[in-house]
Amino acid sequence: MMEWTNAIVQGILLGGLYALFAAGLSLIFGVMRLVNIAHGDLIVLAAYFGLTTTVLLGVHPFVALLFVVPVMAGLGYVLQRGLLNKTLGDDILPPLLVTFGLSVIIQNALLEGYTADPQKLNGGAIETASLQVGGLALGVLPLLTFGIAVAVIALLQWVFYATSLGRGFRAVSDNQDIAQIMGFNKSHIFGLAMALALAVTAIAGILLGMRTSFDPSVGGGRLIFGFEAVIIGGLGNLWGTLAGGVILGVAQTIGAKIDPGWQLLAGHIAFLVVLAVRPNGLFPRIDH
């Protein structure tokens, strides 16, 4: 019994990481209806930036965030204004295929720069530290990851619903023409949204790199986890995305408990079941 409780608790904590994968995806879809196939590769890119920073400066991965977050945000802004804005329109093919091309470019550029060898960010003592809570050993790093996920989502929620920038995001998302007449520069707003999304991606990448080893090919899997969390939680609902991440995480740890080979399969099956039963996700946004 205790083992099962443990699996569920570990799954919930893992869900925090998946929610971080998902939050950026959810944000850019909400603002500009863009689905970024390269999202997972950008998470991996952030992990590699973190690796380079920790190695070159000899700092802890958390300190590397101070560098990686602004770099990824800047990259997001440039990427959006220089490339992705040109793909937006009624046709869904250009954004899809351009981000797909981007995914291949990032993956192979990482292979070229870092080789296919698995890497890991060294978090030091925090990686093995754990707290005893009611007979369960909770890893400090997973707890911290979950706490960061909750904080990031609360922050995004605040930006979206309590700041003038968030008002701009929502106005442009609702009606691009009228938002422009009101003085919002659509290209700039979209650039800022992607910058924010990739700032979150940077955090996700660093936490991923401390938790497990990574190599240039693992981006696709991260995209899928993020995507599943978004759909399970319900499109356009950030807290729902956290719930979606948790459900996915729990499904995976329970699957792994039954048979180690079933970890990923169980997560995908949970996603497909939700899709079959509640096509709009468990907590769809209701204000539209």
Partner: protein, 236 residues
């Protein structure tokens, strides 16, 4: 006479291969209310989209404050002091009433209009400020759309079909509020299909037909028959 606030000189507009405006000339002077009338498909909406910058034009064909703006984006035009109450109101559905109004203040121009002043003109909006804009009645939504445009403190405000889809008594109320709005030193262009209402509040008019200006003049000088001929393209 002083230089016009807005001046269109030979304005052409295209949607892909389709040409919607052919060499439109118009002048709007500070303090005027100018009516644009014309049937459906005459090019009125394209005219509004061109002036606001939603449709790209030749730079010199539109001048505002003597500055060519035809090539500017809509958000750049907004900062120069041009606002619009769009056809069908087009409030932001995921924003509350107050947020919709605040969006109008994005450009941050100084002037007489503040949130408090909008609320004193339309008290019902203050009562409902926390509600989603979609929960309001059509007339109340129109108040929000007008308030949203005013909060940018524009020099020129465009009203696009503000009576469309509203009950006559509401339309009457809104038109009663217009003189108060204009008297704050604003200039207005009014696009309407309802000719008599448009002519009653305006000093000059342009009548459009098939993308061209078919008649223009002072409202007091023109006869009903002349307008009918220009409006429907009936030739004598």
């Amino acid at each position: 006479m002083s230089d016009p606030l807005l001046s269109l000189a030979g304005l052409d507009a295209h949607y892909g291969d389709f040409q919607a405006l052919y060499g439109v000339d118009m002048d709007v002077h500070a303090g005027e209310v100018v009516a644009i009338i014309g049937a459906n498909g005459a090019g009125k909406t394209t005219l509004m989209r061109s002036i606001t910058g939603l449709v790209a034009n030749q730079s010199e064909q539109i001048q505002f404050h003597g500055q060519p703006i035809g090539g500017l984006r809509a958000d750049q035009v907004a900062y120069l002091g041009l606002a619009m109450v769009p056809e069908g109101r087009q409030l932001f559905p995921s924003l509350s009433v107050e947020e919709n109004l605040l969006v109008g203040g994005t450009v941050g121009r100084a002037g007489p209009w503040t949130l408090a002043k909008i609320y004193s003109m339309f008290p019902i909006l203050e009562e409902r400020r926390k509600q989603k804009s979609t929960s309001l009645s059509g007339g109340q939504q129109q108040m929000v759309a007008i308030g949203r445009a005013l909060l940018s403190n524009p020099d020129l405000i465009l009203f696009d079909e503000i009576s469309l889809g509203l009950a006559p008594v509401i339309i009457g109320d809104i038109y009663k509020a217009l003189p108060g709005i204009i008297s704050e030193g604003m200039t207005a262009m009014l696009v309407e299909q309802d000719i008599s209402r448009a002519l009653r509040v305006s000093s000059r008019f342009y009548c459009m037909q098939e993308g061209r200006v078919s008649l223009e003049g002072r409202t007091e000088d023109v006869s009903r028959d002349e307008i009918t001929a220009a409006y429907f393209g009936v030739s004598e």
